[in-house]
């Protein structure tokens, strides 16, 4: 009995229309800002991010450590501390504004409609509770199952995430499982109440490549079976390349490029996105191939640099980039957004100095489209 949803005794106060009932995207994030007050100053970790996720689709959020992707994930979930945090913007999930909700209301949604898979399953799981108890907790709370029914469902869930002999394993503790198995348990917990959106924050970082492939394939399979939406947060573009429908690239708290996956790879406009792609070692390259590392580090988010925040590390930066902030805009296709004054076109920069030879070769200019969001 997995996958049933809805209140058993009318306890739930909020109404959630079924996915088919509306054309609205499942999740709409608008102009989200999250800042932390620290001793050194205010850290603008998420700085005006907007995105949408349609039901049943996968959105990849990609960026380096310190790009604000984890804070963004937690801001969407409403999982941030109250103290010393400044928030603005809205998060609409299935028609409800999560940012306006009381903690009691959020608790009704967490696990039931919106779940999260954390990076480190060892710290996310309770070390002194059997994994069965940790799975049945949300089943009993949200779906009002009795103990026997919840236990049987927990076994089925463990089976569905590929844990062998689940009847025995439900009685195990997290320390008895390997890292990959723990992450499977995390997925089982996240799936328990058949949520409509799963937020997976670096779900495979720290796992072996073989286990990573297993976990991502599992997540994709369950997603298709249950028509869930998934937000996959990662630092590795390779992980989302054949799994996400759309990719958002973040840098220094902002979205710098956003496009359907194939478009992003085929027509990368933002030099940062290209740099991320090129820093991945490829198996097909001969051994000893020098990697295209991105020099330097992401900027300090207390005093972000003036102009484009990537300019200090960008190979194509011009004076204009250091002075004024590029807005997020479109060019050509309306679903491809980027924030760059001199975007790459067919792999060549349109910056004046870089395009001297390229412009002779033909059309490398790009018509600036409408500005989607001003900095």
């Amino acid at each position: 009995m997995i996958g049933r949803r809805g209140p058993q005794n009318g306890k739930r106060a909020l109404e959630f229309p079924d996915v088919g009932e509306s054309d609205e995207p499942l999740l709409v994030v608008e102009n989200l800002h999250t800042s932390f007050r620290t001793g050194r100053g205010t850290v603008h970790a998420v700085d005006g991010v907007s995105l949408t996720v349609a039901a049943g689709t996968t959105l990849g959020i990609v960026g380096e450590s310190g790009s604000g992707k984890t804070v963004l994930a937690r801001s969407i979930m409403g999982l941030l501390p109250v103290r010393d945090v400044i928030k603005s913007g809205t998060v609409h999930f299935a028609g409800h504004d999560l940012t306006a909700m009381e903690p009691d209301q959020l608790r009704e949604i967490w696990g039931a409609e919106l779940s999260m898979i954390f990076q480190d399953p060892m710290t996310a799981l309770n070390p002194v509770k059997r994994i069965g108890i940790q799975i049945t907790e949300s089943l009993r709370l949200h779906l009002d199952m009795d103990r026997k029914e919840a236990d049987a469902t927990a076994v089925e869930l463990l089976r569905s995430v590929g844990i062998p002999s689940p009847e025995q394993r439900v009685r195990w503790y997290p320390f008895q499982l390997s890292g990959g198995m723990r992450q499977r348990v995390m997925i089982a917990i996240a799936l328990a109440c058949a949520p409509r959106l799963i937020m997976a924050d670096e779900p495979t970082t720290g796992l072996d490549v073989t286990v990573q492939a297993q976990i991502l394939d599992l997540l994709g399979k369950l997603q298709r079976e249950r028509h869930m939406a998934v937000i996959l947060v990662t630092h590795d573009l390779g992980v989302v390349a054949d799994r996400a429908d759309e990719i958002v690239v973040m840098y220094a708290g902002r979205v710098v490029e956003r496009a359907p996956t194939r478009t992003l790879f085929a027509e990368t406009h933002m030099p940062y996105t290209r740099a991320l792609m090129e820093s991945i070692p490829r198996l097909a390259d001969p051994s000893g191939t020098r990697l295209q590392a991105i020099p330097g580090r992401p900027p300090d988010l207390i005093h972000p640099p003036k102009g484009c925040r990537f300019a200090p590390r960008c190979a194509f930066a011009q004076d204009k980039c250091r002075e004024s902030d590029p807005p997020l805009r479109t060019a050509g296709s309306p679903d491809h957004l980027f924030a760059c004054w001199f975007p790459l076109v067919h792999g060549t920069s349109t910056a004046p100095s870089a395009s001297a030879s390229a412009s002779a070769a033909g059309d490398t200019t790009i018509d600036p489209g409408p500005v989607v969001q001003s900095p």
Binding site: V211, I280, P281, L283, S287, R290
Partner: protein
């Protein structure tokens, strides 16, 4: 030479003059209650001067234990580790300490491998302090130039403590510390697995530069074959304590002969959406090393396993010059022919 016949019969290549490190029949066991876990069982390989040997495999395959056994941090149960002809396990602690100035190690977690309470310049200077090398000024100069070599600004960073640095910077500091005593051989145990891809690329490039600058020989341990292939001249693939394949990096990529190597390559996410689902994830987990499968240890997860694989353990043998594999039915052109009679050498 008596070793010639062994080499032609497909045995491990004999130690030649440029061999820096020679590992012979290395076995490392751990006690687990009354049982014994074979973390590394009968592994042999050589590392030649100036080359980088990659050791690759999943968690629990014994690659890190092998790395630790090379420096005798984990004493081998049997077998030998020869560094420039010296058997390290036969040395006294005092002699071993001295040899370790020539064999240094870099660890996976850069933050926990640095003492959080000490300043960066003191951490990096420590090898010189221990060996009482140079005057105070000479030490300070050496620290400065080494920090510069790894891309850390000595003026701003020297007086700070590890917690003020990112993972990538801490790894640079660990590398600087490892190079201070002037080692010949650097053992890198998953030096980039805790880092972002962008920082990973920086560290891999840095290691390549330092290797050339200080003429180092390296053993590079990691679980990601794409990373290992990028830095290594030759790659050794380990599975459940055993060496299953050893070949030149490009050779291994072009003509992987062991099904496990093929599976490892297939599990690497390629940053290319057009290369969709060509891969098949390896099913199952590593079996328990307490009770390894009979015959070939990989057979429980191998798509090509045949009855013979359960009965007989495949030995490491040469399938092409410099390319060894331990499989009854090695892949040729990505296909296994399990109907053919296995190699009589088995």
């Amino acid at each position: 030479m008596s070793t010639v016949s062994a080499a032609t019969a497909g045995g491990p290549p004999s130690a030649s003059e440029d061999t820096v490190l020679s590992v012979d029949h290395l076995v490392v066991e751990f006690k687990s209650g009354r049982q014994r876990v074979h973390a590394v069982s009968d592994v042999s390989f050589q590392v030649r001067k100036g080359e980088t040997l990659g050791l690759v495999g999943e968690s629990g395959c014994g690659k890190s234990t092998t790395g630790r056994a090379l420096v005798q941090v984990q004493p081998p149960t049997s077998g030998s580790v020869n560094y420039l002809g010296q058997d390290l396990s036969a040395l006294s602690n005092r002699q071993l300490r001295k040899v370790r100035t020539k064999i240094q190690m870099i660890f996976q977690d850069p933050i926990s491998s640095l003492n959080p309470r000490r300043r960066v310049k003191d951490i990096v200077a420590e090898p010189l302090v221990i060996w009482k090398r140079g005057t105070k000024d000479e030490k300070a100069d050496k620290v400065r130039s080494m920090l510069e070599a790894v891309g850390i600004d000595p003026d701003t960073a020297g007086d700070r403590r590890p917690q003020e640095f990112s993972g990538g910077q801490c790894q640079r500091i660990s590398i600087a510390r490892a190079l201070m005593a002037g080692p010949d051989l650097l053992i890198c145990d998953e030096p980039v697995s805790a880092l972002d891809v962008s920082v990973q690329a920086q560290i891999l490039n840095l290691l390549a530069d330092l290797k050339a600058r200080f003429s180092l020989t390296m053993v590079f341990i990691a679980h990601d074959l794409a990373v290992v292939k990028n830095v290594s001249d030759r790659v050794a693939v380990m599975y459940l304590g055993k060496l299953v394949e050893l070949a030149g990096s490009d050779d291994l990529y072009r003509s992987a002969a062991h099904p496990y190597t093929e599976a490892l390559m297939a599990s690497i996410p390629e940053p290319d959406p057009e290369q969709k689902s060509a891969h098949k994830a390896l099913s199952g987990e590593l079996p328990s090393p307490l009770n390894p499968p009979s015959g070939c240890r990989f057979r429980t997860r191998c798509p090509y396993a045949a009855p013979l694989c359960a009965e007989q353990e495949p030995l490491l043998r040469e399938v092409a010059p410099g390319h060894q594999v331990a499989c009854h039915f090695p892949l040729v052109g990505g296909k296994a022919d399990t109907s053919a009679a296995p190699n009589p050498a088995d």
